[in-house]
């Protein structure tokens, strides 16, 4: 990261905590052995992984045995959705998700449709929230699988996971939650929340890229079929040599997060409030999504300003126009379109996402710079633009 920029894209990825980096290097120096090997060095790798599992499990209040290591949230989502829906297919092939889910979810649902699964795409309200009553009405006797994200990656909207999960549990429907934006950032107690499957990834909360996990609840009927084949690792659910250093990094990332979630949330709330206070009076600005969403994300649209030019005019702020995974696309965000925004409103949307290292000075600068960029572009535009 160059010092010339102000990074406000923490929902896309976060810097690795230096302690995590040190831990990974130490692990790498301690053993190069394959954790599947039975010799002493291999057993050391196994011990490192077992310790990491305990650290992640303590963050979520689960048994370490319920965790399956993956390469990140996209793989976890694929394993949960494709594996879970196929596991339950003999009971029914109706599956449900939302239009505002991440592509790592929606694309898997699209793939399952080609296998004969029938999909219901639940609508979000204008605030991005899924109404539990409307959700329940969408369920059928043959509904066997539901996937709803915890925190939306574009808007920060937090779904009522407890209410939605309770509905699924009452009907014995497998309930998957993509928690990539929530784990390590919001308190999550899987001992209380009715979640069957939950995806997480390290790099969204100050851990390394390339490692994540899928939680699979230890209860009857809750299981997934593997989607990868090639070895007996992880009870054959996810074969492949485990990356010891990355998993150790994820473990420490989880331990660090567990000790500071409340402080982090207070910090993020203060930043978000300062940022919004600095821009909320600009004519034509609107906040996208539930205002009570995750405080690390602020998504705004602005009338009469072209989005691509706004993004360039905002440099040296590093922000997002939509999901970073989709940022090369010229298409307006499908998530914001699903909330009822026009193409023009969605195209002008900017996602500011703040993190642990962000300062109040930075967000105050960002607010002033956003205001100046809007003024500049509106000054360039002919009358009656857009």
């Amino acid at each position: 990261m160059t010092e010339d920029y102000i990074y406000l894209d923490y929902a896309a990825s976060t810097p690795v905590d230096p302690r995590v980096f040190d831990r990974m290097r130490a692990c790498s120096e301690a053993t190069c052995a394959n954790p599947s090997s039975t010799h002493a060095a291999g057993r050391l790798s196994q011990d490192i992984i077992a310790s990491a599992a305990i650290q992640v499990a303590e963050l979520l209040n689960v048994d370490p045995e319920t965790l399956v290591w993956t390469s990140g949230a996209t793989e976890s989502d694929n394993l949960a959705i494709a594996g879970g829906a196929r596991y339950r297919a003999h009971r029914g092939k109706h599956i449900v998700t939302m239009k505002t889910e991440h592509k790592a979810v929606t694309d898997v649902f699209d793939a399952l449709a080609k296998e004969g699964f029938e999909i219901t795409w639940a609508d979000a309200g204008a605030n991005g929230l899924l109404d539990p009553a409307a959700f329940e009405a969408a369920l059928r006797d043959d509904t066997q699988f539901v996937s709803i994200m915890f925190v939306n990656n574009e808007t920060g909207v937090i779904q009522d996971i407890e209410a939605l999960g309770t509905i699924c549990r009452q009907r014995d429907i497998l309930f998957h939650v993509d928690a990539a934006q929530a784990v390590g950032k919001l308190p999550i107690d899987l001992g209380k929340l009715p979640i069957d499957l939950m995806s997480l990834t390290a790099h969204k909360f100050y851990g390394p890229k390339g490692v994540g996990a899928l939680y699979i609840a230890d209860r009857p009927g809750c299981h997934v079929e593997p989607i990868l084949f090639g070895g007996g690792q992880q009870r054959r659910l996810r074969p492949g040599t485990l990356p010891t250093e990355l998993i150790a990094g994820l473990g420490l990332t989880a331990e660090i997060a567990a000790g500071r979630i409340d402080d982090d949330l207070e910090h993020l709330k203060a930043l978000r409030e300062a940022l919004w206070a600095g821009i909320r009076d600009i004519e034509g600005i609107s906040l996208n999504g539930d205002p009570n969403g995750f405080p690390g994300i602020l998504n705004v649209s602005i009338d009469d300003v072209e989005g691509e030019s706004l993004l360039l005019a905002l440099e040296p702020l590093l922000v997002a126009t939509g999901s970073a995974c989709n940022s090369k696309s010229q298409e307006p965000s499908y998530v914001l379109r699903a909330l009822g925004l026009t193409d023009m409103q969605a195209q002008s949307a900017i996602r500011f996402s703040v993190g642990r290292p962000t300062t109040v000075d930075e967000v105050e600068f960002a607010a002033g710079h956003y205001r100046a960029a809007v003024d500049k572009l509106r000054g360039l535009a002919p009358e009656n633009a857009a």
């Binding site: 009469d304 072209e306 691509e308 030019s309 360039l312 005019a313 010229q330 572009l377 000054g379 360039l380 535009a381 002919p382 009656n384 633009a385 857009a386």
Partner: protein
């Protein structure tokens, strides 16, 4: 190979737009198409363009292109605008192929302004 979607030229032209604005009382044209909006105005003396200004609502390439066109066309004979082509501009900025349509709106605006300056159409 750079992953930056904007060349140094586009960045510089987008950041500093001395030809942005209007010319009071001058001939002008406005076009809206291809999800962009552009307005050009030109002052002419003895058939020569003495000043040219633009207003634009669109992507950075359009704004950089409009700035380039206005700067380049000052001092040219007004009749030359009628068959002005954006091909050199697209090559020099450069403009990615997916933005071609937007730059052609600029080309249309320049040609339309040329016709208006020459014969009032």
């Amino acid at each position: 190979m750079s992953t930056d979607p904007y060349s140094a030229t586009v960045r510089e032209l987008f950041a500093t737009t001395p030809h942005a604005g209007d010319l009071a009382g001058a001939e002008s044209v406005s076009i809206t198409d291809q999800e962009v909006r552009i307005r050009l105005s030109a002052g002419v003396e003895d058939g020569v363009i003495t000043a040219m200004r633009f207003r634009a609502w669109g992507c950075p390439h359009l704004i950089a292109g409009a700035e380039t066109a206005c700067a380049a066309l000052e001092g040219c004979v007004a009749a030359g605008l009628v068959d002005w082509a954006a091909s050199d501009l697209m090559e020099n900025l450069p403009v990615p192929v997916e933005k071609t349509g937007r730059i052609l709106v600029l080309e249309d605006a320049v040609r339309s302004l040329g016709r208006r300056l020459c014969d009032g159409t």
